[in-house]
């Protein structure tokens, strides 16, 4: 597939662009940093940054499974922290609105 693209690029380079473009981009190596799209970067339940796994998952070495959950109120927590929380109290710990999951990160 990569070869196909190169051939294509080659053809384009030799074609209509030849006279007006001295520099043609052939390969591009791009770097991006991802993070959870959250308003507050600390989980209010376990006090650990949401980018790190919650303490429970760190201890059990399940860092990769520790995702973030957003409520309708747009507050976010570790999904596992929130799962435990709602068993006692089905409200958002920050705004006391009824907890409704908006989305779960993956």
């Amino acid at each position: 597939m990569a070869d196909d693209m190169e051939v294509e690029a080659e053809r384009e380079g030799c074609g209509y662009q030849k006279n007006d473009k001295m520099f043609t981009l052939k390969k591009w190596n791009l770097v991006a940093m991802w993070s959870w799209d959250v308003e507050c970067d600390t989980c209010a339940i376990c006090r650990v940054q949401v980018m790190d796994a919650c303490l429970r998952c760190q201890a059990e070495n399940k860092q990769d499974d520790c995702v973030v959950v957003w409520g309708e109120c747009n507050h976010s927590f570790h999904n596992c922290c929130m799962t435990l929380w709602v068993k006692q109290n089905n409200r958002c710990p920050l705004c006391q609105q009824d907890w409704v999951v908006q989305r779960i990160g993956k």
Binding site: F23, L25, V31
Partner: protein, 810 residues
């Protein structure tokens, strides 16, 4: 002379004297010879015995009388043969004792004067035996002693007679006299053996003949003050001559020293003086040679001396002298000079890596008290001083720092080699070495850790083909040893992580295996927590590959803008170093492509956001120069600058800055790499090494290079000063955060403990107790916060009526 031989001689020579003894003698001897039988027959003719056997005078009668009953009568009537004792005891002649002694004395004198003995030895032995049997032992012993004493006394004259006899002659004379004495005493003892075995053994107060001889020799010859003094002086002179390198008669020395031992005056008369002489000789020699010679020469000399002395012990000195003698030499030549030897020579030996001299030094020092300790301390001090010279760099000279790690590794190798080859892998030295390394390497804060991290980077980077995999592995192990000494491991981690990120993202890592190996070493050393983020970085690289595979499949159904081959590395924030967010202006087609990917990615991973990191991006550009086509490997920033020239011939610095929005310093570096480096794709006006505001750039159409693919993105791998500072600063921030956390915890604990013991306190009392307990300065506001925090957590509570009174909550 064997006893049986003597017996035979005596028996032959003494028949006429004691017949009854003779018979006993023959009965003792169970193998009678024909000669002995004849002797017995002769005895029968002796007049003394004839009376008892009168019946034999008429043999024919007796025979018939005896024969008839044997033939005719009953056996019971046979006549018995009765043997009776002598009626009277045989008597010795009256002058027997005197005569016998005269004979013996004659023999003794003959022995003393080295003449041949008149009587046979057997006869003499028999005479002694007879005298002893007739209770003359005591007299005999005294007479013998007198005779010997007289002779020994007479010998003294030769040692006193020539007062000016040279000591060599004197000693030879003494030796001869001693040897003669021994020979004579052995001979005399052989003759008087019976005396020695009966009388002497039965009387414990009497000395054996040999001991008597020694006693006489001791008291009359060597016991003479003058003679003894001359003998001992002579011996000492002999030994001194040998110590000065002359060859001497060791046999003579050995014989005379044996004499002293035998006479049991070796220790009193000789050894003490000998040790004194040795002591003063080596004390002086030690002092002198420490001044004159350098340390290796001196050590070799000491070794030579020790060998000589032990040879002396082997050849002539008594073994009992070994310990005091060796101690004496070691003390005077080594122990007295330990400090001086180490001070004067150790550094030189270590600097010049003189393995054999160091081995000798260690061997010698291990023999003396405190030697090991002193050497260990001096060795540790040397490591500290030398190491400090490598590490400390007052002017922060980059050239010097560049070689620091390599120098440290070489130094460590050298020291390790010395410890294992010269110092017998001594545990104490190894520990001392470790402590010293730890000491000096931390004398300079942070920089060694940083340089070690960079050294590892340089070895793990692509293009480092100087080492095979095994060599690299060994090198990494050595680096880990240095790393172990470092206190600021966080500094190492920060720089290592930064460099690892570049290696992974710019694709410059030499070998995945080596990277993984280094990672596992770090994990082993510092635990999983230390490396979990580094491992996360590798995981991100793997995940990115999967994502790119999915993305390419996704793109097959769409038309790729510009036909660019796009690769994206998605990094998890927190695992990687933090980079300055930088928004740059990309050409529209690139922005479009970027957006396509972003849409694709976020579609797969909801709840995430992406932040582009332009500093780490890199590209391959196809370029049409006047003469030929080339491919350039460039950073994203370089790309942005170059593609501008697709739309114009000439740009100023400001124009490029405006168009790309690259930060000024970064832009200067970028343009410098394009217009002032080895491969100059752009031409700068005016010419110069540095990029100034107002400089103009044009495309270099006549660019020539022998390669088709040209890499000019090395600047991405280089560390900028800015980057360096920010990495270090971040470490300090983290540290401060950790320190703060520790302080908070400690303050919380203190408040809690005080409340738990006091149960109830006013605010002011609590604060003053806290000041007493917390040793470091605290702000009252901080303490208030801790108190509030504990109240929040229900560890304590305010009094309901009095707001400044606290109670402990159980």
């Amino acid at each position: 002379m064997p006893l049986s031989n003597l017996n035979k001689h005596t028996a032959k020579g003494q028949q006429e004297h004691t017949n009854h003894r003779k018979r006993r003698h023959s009965s003792e001897n169970h193998s009678p010879t024909s000669k002995r039988r004849r002797d017995i027959l002769e005895e029968m003719t002796d007049s003394q015995k004839r009376a008892n056997f009168s019946a034999l005078t008429s043999p024919s009668n007796g025979l018939t009388r005896h024969a008839s009953p044997l033939v005719n009568n009953k056996p019971g009537a046979a006549k018995k043969l009765v043997i009776k004792n002598f009626k009277e005891k045989p008597k010795l002649p009256d002058n027997y004792q005197q005569e016998t002694w005269e004979k013996l004395q004659g023999a003794v004198e003959a022995i003393h004067t080295s003449h041949s003995i008149q009587a046979s030895l057997e006869e003499l032995y028999q005479a002694v035996e007879n005298m002893c049997s007739h209770k003359m032992s005591a007299t005999l012993y005294d007479q013998l002693k007198q005779s010997c004493e007289k002779h020994v006394k007479s010998n003294i004259s030769q040692f006193l007679g020539y007062p000016f006899l040279c000591f060599v002659m004197f000693l030879k004379c003494m030796d001869n006299c001693w040897q003669a004495h021994c020979r004579q005493m052995i001979m005399i003892r052989s003759i008087f053996l019976f005396l020695d075995r009966t009388y002497v053994l039965q009387n414990s107060s009497v000395m054996s003949i040999w001991d008597m001889g020694l006693d006489l020799f001791r008291s009359h010859i060597v016991g003479h003050i003058l003679v003894q003094a001359r003998t001992v002086d002579g011996l000492l002179q002999f030994i001194e001559r040998e110590r000065n390198g002359e060859a001497v008669d060791r046999q003579l020395l050995k014989s005379l020293l044996r004499m002293l031992s035998d006479l049991q005056i070796y220790q009193d008369a000789f050894e003490r003086k000998f040790l004194d002489a040795t002591d003063s000789l080596y004390a002086a020699e030690g002092q002198r040679l420490m001044q004159e010679r350098d340390v290796p020469e001196y050590l070799a000399h000491v070794d030579k001396r020790l060998n000589e002395e032990s040879e002396r012990l082997l050849h002539y000195l008594d073994q009992s002298t070994r310990k005091p003698l060796v101690t004496c030499v070691e003390k005077q030549l080594l122990e007295q000079h330990l400090g001086q030897i180490l001070q004067k020579g150790l550094d030189q030996l270590l600097n010049e890596n003189r393995i054999s001299d160091l081995t000798l030094l260690y061997q010698l020092f291990s023999k003396v008290k405190d030697g090991m300790r002193e050497l260990g301390l001096a060795f540790a001090l040397y490591i500290k001083n030398t190491g400090r010279l490598i590490v400390i760099n007052v002017d922060n000279d980059a050239e010097k720092d560049k070689d620091m790690v390599q120098n440290l590794l070489d130094f460590k190798d050298k020291i390790d080699n010395i410890i294992s080859v010269c110092f017998g892998r001594n545990e104490k030295f190894i520990n001392g070495m470790k402590e010293s390394f730890e000491n000096f390497i931390n004398q300079r804060q942070n920089k060694p850790a940083e340089l070690i991290a960079k050294y590892v980077d340089s070895k793990l980077r692509a293009g480092n083909k100087e080492a095979t995999e095994e060599e690299l592995e060994r090198l990494l192990d050595k680096i880990m040893v240095l790393f172990r000494f470092i206190h600021g491991k966080d500094v190492f981690e920060a720089f290592y992580k930064k460099d690892l990120a570049k290696r992974l993202l710019v694709g410059k890592s030499a070998s995945v295996d080596a990277e993984k190996s280094m990672l596992s070493k770090l994990k082993q050393e510092c635990g999983a927590a230390f490396t979990s983020k580094l491992e996360g970085m590798f995981k991100d690289m793997e995940l990115s590959k999967d994502i790119m595979f999915a993305f390419r499949q996704h793109m097959q159904n769409m038309t790729a803008p510009g036909g660019v081959d796009l690769t994206v590395n998605i990094l998890t924030m927190g695992y990687w170093p933090t980079y300055h967010p930088m928004a740059v202006h990309l050409p529209t087609e690139m922005v479009d492509y970027q957006e396509i990917f972003k849409k694709f990615y976020l579609g797969k991973h909801s709840g995430r956001k992406l932040q582009w990191q332009p500093t780490l991006g890199h590209c391959v550009l196809k370029v049409e120069f006047a003469a030929m086509k080339k491919e350039l490997h460039v950073s994203l920033f370089q790309t942005l600058c170059l593609v501008l020239f697709n739309d114009g011939h000439e740009f100023t610095f400001e124009e490029i800055k405006q168009a790309t929005a690259i930060e000024v310093e970064e832009l200067r570096r970028t343009l410098q790499s394009l217009a002032c480096g080895k491969a100059r794709v752009l031409i700068k006006h005016p010419k110069g090494k540095d990029i100034e505001d107002g400089d103009k750039f044009i495309f270099n159409e006549d660019f020539k290079h022998k390669l088709f693919r040209i890499k000019i993105n090395q600047i991405q791998m280089k560390e900028t000063q800015d980057e360096n500072t920010s990495t270090t600063e971040r470490v300090f921030q983290d540290r401060q955060y950790q320190v703060d956390a520790a302080i908070v915890l400690k303050q919380l604990k203190s408040v809690y403990q005080i409340m738990k013991t006091r149960k109830s306190l006013t605010h002011n009392l609590l604060i003053s107790e806290l000041y007493n307990q917390l040793k470091f300065p605290v702000k009252p506001a901080d303490l208030k916060k801790r108190i509030e925090s504990l109240i929040d957590r229900d560890y304590m509570e305010r009094d309901k009526d009095n707001a400044i009174q606290y109670h402990y909550v159980a």
